[in-house]
């Protein structure tokens, strides 16, 4: 190995390892984040060539201004009923997250993941998509299920791995699956769903269907090869898919700079693939809705995929197994300069005269009661702690359509083992 001393005429090389602007004990520092004024980014025609979006990938599509007004060309001009529904769904997600987080802390399940601060991305996105478009989510888009009226009790039964768990106690809590709700089965292997969404979309195109797919991925897992495969195939075959990067700045303890976030934006990846790209304020429900709708309309018109970066912040820990205070400043989420998605939509509705504090509190109380009632129902079917899903024979089902001999033998053995334990 050559040492620096052997070549004194050359400078010694050094390795650059990115560091976030602030660590525990430091002041929260978001000074590096540029925030263009709401309404300042132009809105290309849905049928515009992909290249027409490429200057937008360094900007930020925003609709709601600081006073809660919807401004500029991206204003989706939603009716108050839809706005209230989006607000309600976001509030419900938050109430649900809080209840389930608490249930995990009480030992009723092993694991939970909140999406605090990111509610608008899934909820407003779901309302901008058609009900039967297929979503390929990560573990932080529970808002898709809520917005599509998936029963809360069913979600909880999955979280508890109890007798009512539709997934038969097999999956880590929050890894829901529902074909009927267009919510693809969640994988713990990151990024795998992104090219699968493209494959689903290509199949839809092959069959002359009108449904599109929406894939979700985090900033950290854009570093996986699957992200590259997804963008390549989506671009090459003009797949009818919306590719959403949820940039919440953190992959467990690793800031987005380690995924390349210091060098350029995640939306800018679109430029290299020649596909449409948008960078969107993920805490602005109207911007999320408008961008998703723009991309969905484009996909549905055979104009190909759009890569959308939703710029947001993971307010809480990665999961119940994580303590963010050991790697980033306390209360960083509260200082996020793009605010809170629920508060911002609430402010907008109030500004429109379509909402007030009293109604907000009443809705919060009602959602809280709804979630508590659902929890009561779910717990009648057990929790992981008290009465989990236990059906040894079922453990061997669904490996294949039919049980081959070796699984039949193992099933019999496991059942006998269970009986031996009981004796």
């Amino acid at each position: 190995m050559n040492k620096a001393s052997e070549r004194p005429n050359r400078p010694a090389l050094s390795l650059y390892v990115p560091e976030p602007p602030a660590r525990p004990g430091d002041e929260v520092d978001f000074s590096h984040i540029e925030i263009p004024a709401a309404g300042s980014v132009r809105r290309p025609d849905v049928a515009a060539p992909a290249s027409d979006t490429h200057e937008l990938v360094y900007s930020l599509v925003r609709v709601l201004d600081d006073d809660g007004r919807a401004v500029g060309p991206w204003d989706p001009k939603l009716d108050p009923g839809t706005l209230r529904r989006i607000l309600r769904d976001m509030m419900l997600v938050r109430v649900f997250d809080d209840r389930m987080y608490r249930a995990q802390r009480q030992g009723k399940t092993s694991f939970y993941m909140k999406c605090t601060g990111e509610e608008a991305i899934a909820v407003a996105g779901a309302h901008a998509l058609d009900r039967d478009d297929m979503c390929f989510p990560t573990y932080r888009q529970q808002g898709l299920l809520v917005a599509r009226d998936y029963p809360l009790v069913q979600m909880m039964c999955q979280i508890y791995s109890n007798r009512g768990d539709a997934l038969k106690g097999r999956q880590l809590p929050i890894m829901y699956a529902s074909n009927a709700h267009g919510f693809f089965t969640i994988s713990g292997n990151l990024a795998t769903q992104f090219p699968q969404a493209v494959g689903w979309a290509m199949a839809s195109a092959i069959r002359g269907d009108s449904r599109i797919a929406a894939g979700y991925i985090g900033d950290g897992s854009t570093a996986e090869g699957d992200f590259h495969a997804a963008c390549t195939f989506a671009g090459v075959y003009r797949a009818p898919v919306v590719l959403n990067v949820v940039n919440n700045q953190w992959a467990i303890s690793t800031f987005c700079g380690i995924a390349g976030g210091e060098l350029t934006t995640f939306a800018a990846r679109a430029v290299g693939y020649g596909i449409a790209g948008l960078r969107v304020d993920g805490n602005d429900a109207l911007a999320v809705y408008a961008a998703t709708r723009w991309a969905a309309d484009r996909a549905r018109s055979n104009l190909g995929p759009t890569l959308i970066e939703f710029f947001t912040y993971r307010v809480e820990g990665h999961s119940t197994s994580d303590d963010p205070s050991v790697y980033r400043p306390q209360n960083a989420g509260a200082a996020w300069p793009l605010g809170d998605p629920v508060a911002r939509l609430r402010q907008h509705l109030v500004a429109l005269g379509e909402w007030d504090d009293e109604r907000h509190q009443a809705q919060l109380d009602q959602l809280d009661a709804e979630v508590r009632a659902a929890q009561k129902e779910a717990e009648k079917l057990g929790t992981l702690q008290s009465d989990p899903y236990l059906n040894i024979a079922s453990m061997f089902e669904d490996v294949f359509e039919e049980l081959p001999w070796h699984l039949r033998e193992q099933q019999a053995q496991a059942i006998a083992e269970g009986e031996a334990k009981r004796r």
Partner: protein, 337 residues
């Protein structure tokens, strides 16, 4: 009925299934306009259109992931990985996704998809065009692993694999695409045309997954083989004048344990032969199964004849390949024990 080599038989399986089943689509590198580097997909794009038979980017993880998404939609994709040696970038999508989809979603989704890939050596392909990675897949719960050894089985098994509602990894022994190479590499290979299994029905038929074939009956010893090694086993037994019973497994998972057990109980001896490296090869699983289930019928230790635990060397291919000399010596030893 037509006389076909393995490539033609596999091609015919594609044509039959694309004709019968509009959900069947084919993707892979060079498989479209060109018809595949081994010509297995020839004519598909012309006949069924670009939407149903198309060239993919050089992205094995993409190919598998796209097939997963398509199968989740409800299509029956047949994905070609150009060489089994290239399948590793797609491994995560096979192991973590395809294999587990039905289970993790409790049946909300299942994946009727086939991953076809030519494997094995004997073609001077060097390290990266000669591997036999089947055991990596037999170890994965939720994947079926199929390996044909002749044109009739190749077509029938591929149709069965496409019609199967679970993911199948379908390994094609490329050394015998054009003729039943028997390991005697200095002799010319007889073309398939002279082999009875080259008589292939033109239309639809299946060879069921999970069923082995007794390709030679015998009393002295049971040889368990698949792919190219079936022909090496037959030729070696004949050359050595050994009354071996040769079983062509055809499907590795689920393996046909009944046929194996019945044969070993009859002969009392068992030799397993595969081209793949030895350690943790599928032979290890077979040896364990045989001793677990036939121990009191065995008159000699279960023996493995395999490739060496090295990468596949280019110029020393025939020193690597488990051919008639290695197999013949092992057979004689197994009979003496």
């Amino acid at each position: 009925m037509s006389v076909m080599n393995m490539i033609q038989a596999l091609n015919s399986a594609h044509h039959v299934m694309m004709e019968r089943n509009p959900e069947t689509v084919v993707l892979g590198e060079d498989i479209g306009y060109f018809g595949g580097v081994f010509r297995v997909t020839e004519g598909l794009q012309k006949k069924f259109g670009k939407e149903r038979a198309f060239d993919s980017p050089i992205s094995e993880n993409g190919i598998v992931a796209i097939a997963v998404g398509m199968a989740a939609y409800g299509l029956r994709p047949v994905a070609e990985i150009q060489f089994a040696d290239y399948i590793y970038p797609g491994f995560d999508q096979i192991v973590s996704e395809a294999a587990k989809m039905r289970y993790r979603s409790a049946g909300e989704w299942h994946l009727p998809m086939v991953i076809r890939t030519p494997y094995g050596g004997g073609i001077f392909g060097g390290q990266t065009h000669s591997q036999s990675p089947e055991a990596l897949f037999t170890h994965i719960a939720g994947i079926k692993t199929v390996i044909p050894s002749n044109p009739y089985d190749a077509k029938g098994l591929l149709i069965a694999a496409i019609e199967d509602n679970d993911p199948v990894v379908f390994f094609e022994p490329k050394r015998i695409y054009n003729g039943p190479f028997d390991g005697f590499y200095e002799r010319p290979v007889t073309p398939w045309a002279k082999h009875p299994a080259a008589e292939v029905p033109d239309g639809h038929y299946t060879v069921p997954l999970g069923k082995a074939a007794v390709v030679r009956e015998g009393e002295a010893i049971t040889i368990l083989a698949y792919g190219t090694m079936v022909h090496v086993a037959l030729a070696t037994a004949a050359a050595e004048g050994i009354d071996a019973e040769v079983i062509d497994l055809r499907t590795l998972v689920p393996v046909d344990i009944e046929t194996i057990e019945a044969s070993v109980r009859k002969t009392g001896r068992c030799l397993i032969v595969h081209e793949a490296t030895r350690t943790s090869g599928f032979g290890a699983e077979l040896a364990a199964l045989v001793q677990e289930r036939c121990f009191y019928h065995l008159e000699a230790p279960v023996t493995r004849v395999t490739g060496w635990d090295t990468p596949y060397p280019h110029s020393m291919e025939w020193a690597y390949f488990p051919g008639p000399v290695r197999l013949g010596l092992a057979l004689k030893k197994a009979l003496e024990d």
